[in-house]
Point group: none
Chain length 248, copies 2
DNA sequence: GGATCCAACCAATCGCAACCAATCTTATAT
DNA sequence: ATATAAGATTGGTTGCGATTGGTTGGATCC
């Protein structure tokens, strides 16, 4: 390939001096013209794939070196787009798709213990932020959730309200990003819980330790005590963890 | 599945230049388009089961590899879900997740300070988990990243290597979910940083405080000292934060 | 001397086929 | 009738060969 400067390939002279002293734009590589023609006549639309280079050199009757020089120009210009192993494509507008792996894929790989450790990594910090930043209305919503969870008369309903409580806390941070992280975690948690442990362990004793723990958390947040909120949430999750696995 | 890079599947052109200024909405996986069409024409309703992959490749006339790539996209998008031994199903409304808002939306709403607080909420905990669980190979990768960051001779390159270092730490937790949370955070961070602060602040002093902080973190992880790792990461982020905002 | 051509090689990707593990179905034994 | 085992089906994974854009070095031509 040619020499690179900071803008790209140094390729053709931009202009030349005729014998009569009049500058003339050279504009294009001969091959470049052929390529443009080939694309137009061939009816290629945005997104379409051009023939492979090794085929093009036969269609156009040029060497691969100069073909690639022409393609380089077209790519620099933005007309085409190339990628090794795939081919050369007519440029089109696509969404930049960041493409996180789907939750189902994650939930398949993550073990219940890892899930618990992830919750322990994130949720106490969220409780701390909530204590530091929550508005009065947010605290009100949290307390409402706590009460509904307490009054829940079925195990399923309790889980729903427990979910809502934890999410209300994340919402109380006033930090969209933290809320988004919590939601992401929670989505995976639902998938994992559904597929694995929870249902296997005993469902009975809607023991009141969780309710007490909830109270400690909510009180710490209402008291705007970040350290206590962090500790309370950590204790709560450790308690849940202990019930599931018998330890951390 | 295709090869993953740190952003996801390598697939179609990420961006393109509209020479005529008119954006042309195109490009999904091609197969993805076919699949969407197939689902619509086939009258599949939420909860219905799609034909097996080995049948679909005949109906659509594509290879199983690329079919699965299309299905991956649809699953990530939430329109289908799959389970080994059962099949592929159209997502039913009940179990459809609340649809995470796209990264772009979040990055628009989140302030740099909130971003920093989110990092402070998650990354120290990740460092702790890394110290507790990292394998020897993982530590090696981390140290390699640290060295590359140290040797970076441009600010841009440093940022890239710094990114890689932090991600290597998240990877060292061995916890797919934590890694996924980190990636989610990082995606938003890139969008926010790009749009707002970072570039506005001074770029000069590649001061060595960050390098020293990196060393402290890496050493703590290598020493398998979770508490120290947590503290070191927290100190590092506080230091970065101080440089950006002048305080926490 | 510089551009061009050619051939060989590299690395990313794709298509294919075989294999794995979870699940469902069916047959068989008690 | 129920329980258990064997087989079939399904999504998930891996390895191989072919294809494709990217790169390099030497031969050739002006």
């Amino acid at each position: 390939m040619g020499i690179m400067n900071q803008f790209g390939l140094i390729d053709q002279p931009i202009f030349a001096i005729t014998r009569y002293g009049k500058p003339v734009m050279i504009v294009q590589n001969e091959v470049q013209k052929q390529l443009r023609n080939f694309i137009d006549k061939g009816g290629y639309l945005p997104g379409d794939r051009l023939p492979a280079e090794r085929e093009l050199i036969e269609s156009l009757g040029v060497s691969r070196t100069s073909l690639r020089k022409g393609l380089d120009a077209l790519e620099r210009e933005g007309t085409i787009w190339r990628h090794v192993g795939k081919g050369t494509f007519i440029t089109s507008i696509g969404e930049s798709s960041p493409a996180q792996p789907p939750v189902s894929s994650i939930s398949r790989q993550v073990t219940p213990v890892q899930m618990m450790r992830a919750r322990l990594s994130l949720e106490p910090a969220i409780a701390r932020e909530a204590a530091a930043n929550s508005s009065a209305e947010a605290v009100g919503r949290i307390k409402s959730c706590r009460d509904k969870a307490f009054e829940a008369n079925s195990w399923d309903l309790y889980e729903i309200q427990d979910d809502a409580l934890h999410r209300a806390i994340a919402d109380a941070t006033g930090n969209v990003l933290l809320l988004s992280l919590f939601d992401h975690l929670n989505q995976v948690r639902r998938a994992v819980a559904w597929a694995q442990v929870i249902r296997a362990t005993e469902k009975p004793s809607r023991d009141h330790t969780s309710f007490h723990e909830h109270n400690v958390i909510v009180n710490a947040i209402e008291a705007r005590d970040p350290v206590a909120a962090h500790a309370a949430m950590q204790a709560h999750l450790r308690s849940v963890s202990a019930r599931l696995f018998g330890e951390i």
